[in-house]
Amino acid sequence: MGSIALHDVTKRFDNGQEALRNVSLTFDEGSMAFLTGHSGAGKSTFLKLLLRLQLPTQGQIVVNGVNISQLPRRRIPRYRQHLGAVFQDHHLLSDRTVLENVALPLVVTSMRARDIATRARAALSMVGLLAKERLYPSHLSAGEQQRVGIARAVVNRPNLILADEPTGNLDPELSREVMGLFVNFRRIGATVIVATHDQHLIETMGVRVIELDSGRVVRDEAPGA
């Protein structure tokens, strides 16, 4: 339930700038890949296309056999309910507690309050923040906020996890723990795509690496290649 195929995808903005150029890639269900490249290489645009926050100018993005560019508007929420997204700038709600932030993806599905709390606490426990469930994001460090974002991304047991620099604010040990969390989700069938600059992580994790430069794929290495 997590296969992805990009066919000749180009994303051109209104100002004429091309963020992605003729990108064709496939990701098998349960696979994990790092997306790397300099700033402006097209990593974030790549993730936004998969999140259906933007539409490609040309080409197709097929997830689980469905071209998501042609998803009717009313079906986009259901698609996103099966995704988990982590952002570099967290996008946490400042007037909600840590627990409420993590619970949000479950609240939108109208799950029972008791089940929501149980699952949100389990996700917080995974990132080591259970003790801070009642705090507000402003009371947390940048690294802790990042972990709350990660807990929110995985709380609904998504088929596809998309993470934009998820370890940017974490120390090396915590970065490895978070990656371990993603690997575990990959083992239960989720596809994981992580955009990162962290060369150490890329070299030590032993997963597929896709490098973008000016919107083009310049490297696509499978582990052990």
Binding site: H82, H91, D95, S110
Partner: protein, 320 residues
């Protein structure tokens, strides 16, 4: 995939527990109520604006309703009263009544004795005591008559002029004229009420729309995150519809209070005014159905305003 016959949805809807929607609505309404109470000052201002917008048409409706009711109380046949000069003997009145009864323009004529006149005059007025102080009844006898069918306006006017000139007659007052005017005023007020209801109703909806729009703008980050994690349009829109409903119903309550308060202040002078025309006025004020209608209309206008605001804005909300 769509052309391959059976299409299996790769993203099945998350199973919702039974009655989940009731819980959702309860949660959202509670959150909205809490938030509106936290912004009590701005909520009060919105209620007041909507309340004033609804109060004027509601007041005009009540006025028109009361005028129509007063007109309906009248039996529909014109009548006139011949007031005799002060000090006239009752026999003069009886003679006049007999004479009028014989006229083809008159259907029936009867005497109003000074005592009856005093009783009518005193009814509902607080000056009765003052009249008692005078020691004697200053009111003259009069003759009231109903006009026969088929009498034309000009014939009636001529007939009344003749009676005015008769010896011992002080004044002849046609009772129909002001009722006709009242019916015309009632019709006019009714029409003005409908026009104002449409204009001010639109105003109330726009006030709600701009207030809800402000709430939306203050929660853009939250909305974009909700959409990112799979919140449907209905889910994202719901709190704002409750805001609209809350503002509208609150505005309806304010309108009901304003109208009831205004009626309370105007009732006594209006009754006095009607009594001066020898007509009894029973003012129909705010009752349950009218209050319910104000709350309902306010709520609907609030919902409508919120829909305008959300439909325009929420489609544009996405994380960038």
């Amino acid at each position: 995939m769509r052309g391959e016959g059976r299409f299996r949805d790769p993203w099945p809807p998350v199973q919702r527990p039974r009655f989940a929607w009731i819980r959702d609505h309860w949660r959202v309404s509670r959150d909205c109520f809490t938030l509106a109470c936290r912004r009590l000052w701005s909520s009060l201002l919105v209620w007041l604006l909507i309340g004033i917008s609804l109060a004027l048409p509601a007041a005009l409706y009540l006025l028109q309703h009361n005028l129509a009711a007063a007109a309906a109380q009248w039996d529909g046949r014109p009548s006139f009263t011949v007031y005799l000069q002060t000090g006239s003997e009752i026999g003069v009145a009886r003679g006049l009544a007999d004479r009028l009864d014989a006229e083809p323009e008159v259907e029936r004529a009867w005497v109003i004795t000074p005592q009856q006149a005093l009783a009518e005059f005193s009814e509902g007025l607080t000056i009765a005591d003052a009249l008692e102080v005078l020691g004697e009844n200053p009111l003259p006898a009069s003759v009231r008559a109903t006009v026969a069918d088929g009498v034309r306006e000009e014939e009636l006017q001529r007939f009344m002029a003749e009676q005015s000139a008769a010896e011992g007659v002080d004044e002849v007052v046609l009772e129909k004229a002001w009722l006709e005017r009242m019916a015309a005023i009632s019709d006019f007020v009714g029409r003005v009420g409908w026009i104002l209801a449409a204009v001010f109703g639109l105003g109330a909806a726009l006030v709600t729309a701009s207030s809800v729009r402000l709430v939306i703008e203050s929660r853009l980050e939250e909305l974009s995150v909700q959409k990112l994690v799979g919140g449907t349009d209905a889910f994202v829109r719901r709190p704002f519809l409750y805001f609209g409903l809350f503002y509208g119903v609150g505005g309806g309550m304010v309108a009901a209070m304003l109208v009831a308060g205004s009626l309370g202040a105007l009732e006594a002078p209006l009754v006095t005014l009607f009594d001066s025309y020898k007509e009894r006025l029973t003012i129909e004020g705010m009752d349950g159905p009218l209050v319910g209608a104000l709350l309902g209309v306010g709520g609907l206008l609030g919902l409508f305003g919120a829909l305008i605001a959300t439909n325009r804005r929420l489609k544009q909300v996405e994380l960038t």
